[in-house]
Amino acid sequence: MESARPLLELKSISKRFSGVIVADDLSFTVGVGESLGIVGPNGAGKTTLFGMIGGDIKADRGEVRLDTRLLNGMDSAERARAGIGRTYQVPRSFEQMTVFENVLVAAQHGAGLRGRSAHEMAQGVISATGLQRSINRPAGRLGLLDRKRLELAKALATSPKVLLLDEVAGGLTDPEVDELIGVVSESRGAGVSIIWIEHVVRALVETMERLICFAGGRIVGDGRPLDVLAMDAVRELFLGSEPGDERYLHGPKPMTGGVEGAKAGDGSETEHG
């Protein structure tokens, strides 16, 4: 599934928090322009994994490389400039600043653009993420969907090589998820690699070309999304899914008994593992 040239490489990453293993000799690569979805139960260490790629969490062991460049020892600001774009589960915008200013500072400091090119980048990303009509509103006054859009817009404005999306679809309605999927697919078209952690499995199956199932600090399944979801080991994690049962593909609501369904239903904002 990987394209010829690896862009992001994780090599033998290990991490434990007071005895709990969240990454156990973990290795995988993401190719240029590749899109990878990550699923796994709560506390599997998905967000921690993003933290170790993004630079705010230090791995105990192992290497993270972007375009062969070693990222270990770089803080999150340096990694952002190096090409790691990241969104948070709980959107973190600059509340007192307008949408335009939020995206502009990202273009200026993340992508290193100046003057007119920064303005053009900001304007382009705002149009692409559907924020045009809120462009001059303070970020603190946006609704949830627009906050998620802005979170995505800020990450895109840093002109990332890899985009790390952490639960951007969480808390959104089905039509809103569709809109978001559209935006993400467009940025993929622009050649950006994407890693997307999501409880709304449907979003991943529809947009990602590869899926990793992650549990207990290890990769349980890795391959085409439908193939991975059909693996026994993966199905075991999603209790209640009988072989051939594909209910979880259709969003959280019908899957009340499944781990994945319960998570998506009871508030995806609570997970920090």
């Binding site: 948070y88 500072v105 800020k154």
Partner: protein, 287 residues
């Protein structure tokens, strides 16, 4: 009485210059810089020391001392204040208090306890008359104009420039700012540089306006702090209003009784704190 108010507004300009940097540092970093007044006094003493050496008119000293203090501000932030930031607000208070004590004693050691002022020739005493009762000193007017320009300039810069926007972003959420590639420590350094630059301006103005001595820093700190609180934390124009209010309170106090001048601004401050603790123009988030 009208004269007292006009003189108060003029005096307020100086208070505003003192308070501006204090407001900025608090707004951006949440740091209350207890050495703020001493830094102003230090700037005045640096000027006093180099004017006779360089043989230049005192007014040119601004071009040297203000940039010097901006650089010093950046360095002090990165080396002293930054390491203390992560250990909580108490640590920054202790660090800046320590800095205050060090500056005061260094000045005492080098310049003795004598007070000094910057000689600027005829500008110091020349004035024009608005009426038979009201005369306005050119220097006071100049300081007021400078304070307006500084506040307006900083405010405009924060909203219209690349650096200003990222300062606001960092003030809002420093970790989110890191995610978009901004090194918040560098930005804090720039903010501290701005703050030190404006307070150096205040110190130089003060030395031209009256006299400074090594131990006068904390008095100016109090004035600046009161202006910030009266105006509402984190709002520069609020700080401006606070400075003017304190200036007017001082001169009206003096008008009523010679002894009341020093006390009146503090009483006004206490009244504001009791009746409107959030200040005149409070802001939810800094700057």
């Amino acid at each position: 009485m009208l004269n007292a108010i006009i003189q108060g507004i003029l005096l307020g300009g100086l208070v505003v210059l003192f308070a501006c940097g204090l407001s900025l540092l608090f707004g951006v970093m949440g740091v209350i810089n207890l050495a703020h007044g001493d830094i102003a006094v230090a700037a005045a003493y640096v000027a006093v020391a180099i004017v006779p050496v360089l043989h230049i008119p005192a007014i040119w000293i601004f071009a040297i001392v203000v940039p010097l203090f901006m650089v010093a501000g950046y360095i002090v932030q990165r080396l002293l204040i930054q390491p203390s930031l992560n250990s909580g607000p108490l640590t920054t208070l202790l660090v800046t208090f320590g800095l205050s004590v060090i500056i005061e004693n260094l000045l005492l050691e080098i310049f003795s306890a004598n007070s000094h002022s910057l000689a600027i020739g005829s500008l110091a005493s020349s004035a024009f008359k608005l009426s038979s009762q009201i005369s306005i000193a050119y220097l006071s007017l100049l300081i007021l104009v400078v304070s307006i320009v500084v506040v307006a300039g900083v405010q405009l810069g924060l909203y219209r420039t690349r650096t200003g926007r990222i300062i606001r972003a960092v003030a809002d959420d420093r970790e989110a700012a890191e995610l978009i590639g901004a090194d918040y420590r560098h930005i804090f350094g720039i903010a501290a540089g701005l703050a030190f630059g404006t307070v150096a301006l205040a110190g130089l103005s003060l030395a031209m306006y009256s006299q400074v001595d090594p131990s006068s820093g904390p008095d100016y700190l109090i004035f600046g702090f009161e202006a910030v609180v009266i105006g509402g934390l984190g709002s520069l124009w609020g700080t401006f209003a606070g400075g003017i209010v304190l200036g007017i309170a001082t001169t009206i106090g003096l008008f009523l009784s010679a002894n009341f001048g020093a006390l009146a601004p503090h009483i006004v401050f206490l009244l504001v704190l009791a009746l409107r603790p959030q200040g005149f123009f409070p802001k939810k988030v800094a700057v």
